[in-house]
């Protein structure tokens, strides 16, 4: 697990705890558990909602740590400014990642689905959430990886389709190497996420 510490943010949202898992085996169960938690009522529901109070992001669609950080940062900013478009800061991360404004579609595409094999788990919160890594690991059955391995899991074909990059002249210029195309695609993707709040 890694921790992003934002010293200029108010304490309640100053830290983002992020873990990466590959070969996740309980994606379907996890998804059902999140859906059920949202429907439960009373103290039992509160307890279960807290247990799954994370953002679960499909790692295939994330191109770089910066891509993820940008979405997390814009989501925290919206939370602090009271301009969330979804219900929580965690769903806001998924919405920020999505190239369009449909919340359901954002969660479907960027969240955990039954077939998700690699997963990023994010928790935004105050400093000193000591048991968070343990909680993430009990929640997700899979192999924990260092976050820097993120780029090895990127599915560029899916990224291009999702962010509609295939029609972009930036990637179609003749003589571009694969690495150059990915550099250009990564830049478009990060910029798209960063400006989500003011996209037309």
């Amino acid at each position: 697990m890694e921790t992003f510490r934002y010293t200029h943010l108010p304490a309640a949202h100053a830290h983002a705890y992020v873990a990466l898992f590959d070969h996740v085996s309980n994606a379907a169960h996890l998804r059902q558990r999140i859906v059920r938690a949202s429907q439960l009522e009373g103290p039992e529901g509160d307890h279960e909602r807290e247990a799954v109070n994370f953002a679960f992001v499909d790692a295939r669609l994330i191109t770089s740590i910066l891509h993820l950080q940008t979405a997390i940062y814009q989501a925290i900013l919206a939370k602090i400014q009271g301009s969330l478009r979804t219900k929580t800061v965690h769903s806001e991360i998924l919405w920020a990642l999505s190239p369009n404004n449909n919340i359901t579609e954002a969660i479907k595409r960027f969240g955990v689905s039954d077939s998700t094999a690699s997963l990023i788990v994010v928790r935004v919160g105050p400093p000193e959430m000591s048991d968070i890594e343990h909680r993430m690991k009990t929640l997700v059955s899979g192999d924990p990886l260092p976050l820097t391995d993120l780029t090895k899991l990127t599915d560029w074909f899916a990224v291009r389709k999702c962010y509609k990059l295939n029609a972009d002249p930036a990637l179609k210029a003749p003589g571009l190497s694969i690495a150059q195309q990915q550099l250009a695609a990564g830049e478009i993707v990060v910029s798209t996420v960063a400006m989500k709040s003011i996209a037309a």
Binding site: E2, T3, L77, P146, L183, S191, S197
Partner: protein
């Protein structure tokens, strides 16, 4: 309570200021802090700075109007940039947006302005967006172009070709000058590139007139900041012409008209 973005600005280093905005250098994301179980170091977590363009409050405007205008301008600039990116024009990427506070966070471009590389001297303080010129104090007699491994003519070609890409996407920059172009330092992964900056006055237009005026503004900027600019600007135009193909003809005709009458259209009649 103080907003997160204004606290970020407090931690930032001022670079320059214009009438519309102040420009800062800052660090947005922390470097990766590893938990004890994953101690291996990795080259990818070196912190990169970002550039913050802060459109401050204008005391002379009504607060409501001020907020609306600022928001619209931040959004407009961001939209022009993303359009350029998608069309393969070299521009700084977007890193964060806080439209309420009037802040646009952009990729930090390590390099020098074309103005500096052509010996145009120090940036004036009235520039809207500039690079830091850290080593300006020492007199460096050596040709700065050597470090970049490009000739003056190469740079002119790159300028023409970037502007052509931008105009093909129907984006008009609105303030083309040699200080609004940075030659990126030849370090990987991106290498030497000509990067267009400051899209604060950019807009979308398909008209040959607007593209011709864009070029004319640059031509005037060349002749007023750089000695013997005619051959320089001629190589910009020839690269532009090559990249524009059939659209060149109408723009070229317009450019001749604009040269005679100036940037503004005559309102007589």
């Amino acid at each position: 309570m103080e907003s997160p973005t204004s606290r970020l600005l407090e931690s930032a280093t001022p670079i320059s200021q214009g009438a519309e905005a102040k420009v800062f250098r800052a660090y947005l994301h922390p470097s990766l802090q590893r938990s004890s179980s994953e101690l291996q170091s990795n080259a990818s977590d070196i912190r990169e700075p970002i550039l913050l363009k802060y459109r401050f409050h204008k005391q002379y405007r009504h607060p409501t109007l001020d907020t609306t205008l600022t928001k619209a301008r931040v959004a407009g600039e961001a939209r022009a940039i993303i359009k350029c990116l998608r069309h393969g024009v070299n521009v700084p990427g977007i890193r964060m947006v806080d439209a309420t506070e009037g802040v646009l966070g952009l990729e930090w471009i390590d390099g020098k302005t074309v103005r500096f590389l052509l010996g145009g001297g120090a940036e004036d303080e009235d520039e809207d967006e500039t690079l830091e010129e850290g080593d300006e104090g020492q007199v460096v007699k050596e040709d700065p172009l050597k470090e970049y491994g490009v000739s003056q003519d190469d740079i002119m070609g790159m300028i023409g070709s970037e502007i052509a890409k931008m105009h093909s996407a129907d984006i008009i920059h609105g303030d083309l000058t040699t200080s609004n172009m940075i030659v990126r330092h030849p370090t990987p992964p991106k290498g030497v590139q000509l990067v267009l900056i400051d899209f604060g006055l950019a807009y979308t237009s398909t008209l040959a007139e607007d593209k011709a005026v864009d070029l004319y503004v640059l031509e005037r900027a060349f002749s007023s900041t750089h000695p013997a600019s005619e051959p320089l600007f001629a190589s910009v135009l020839s690269a532009y012409k090559e990249k524009m193909g059939k659209d060149w003809l109408s723009i070229s005709k317009r450019l001749d008209d604009v040269r005679l009458r100036g940037r503004k259209r005559s309102m007589v009649g």
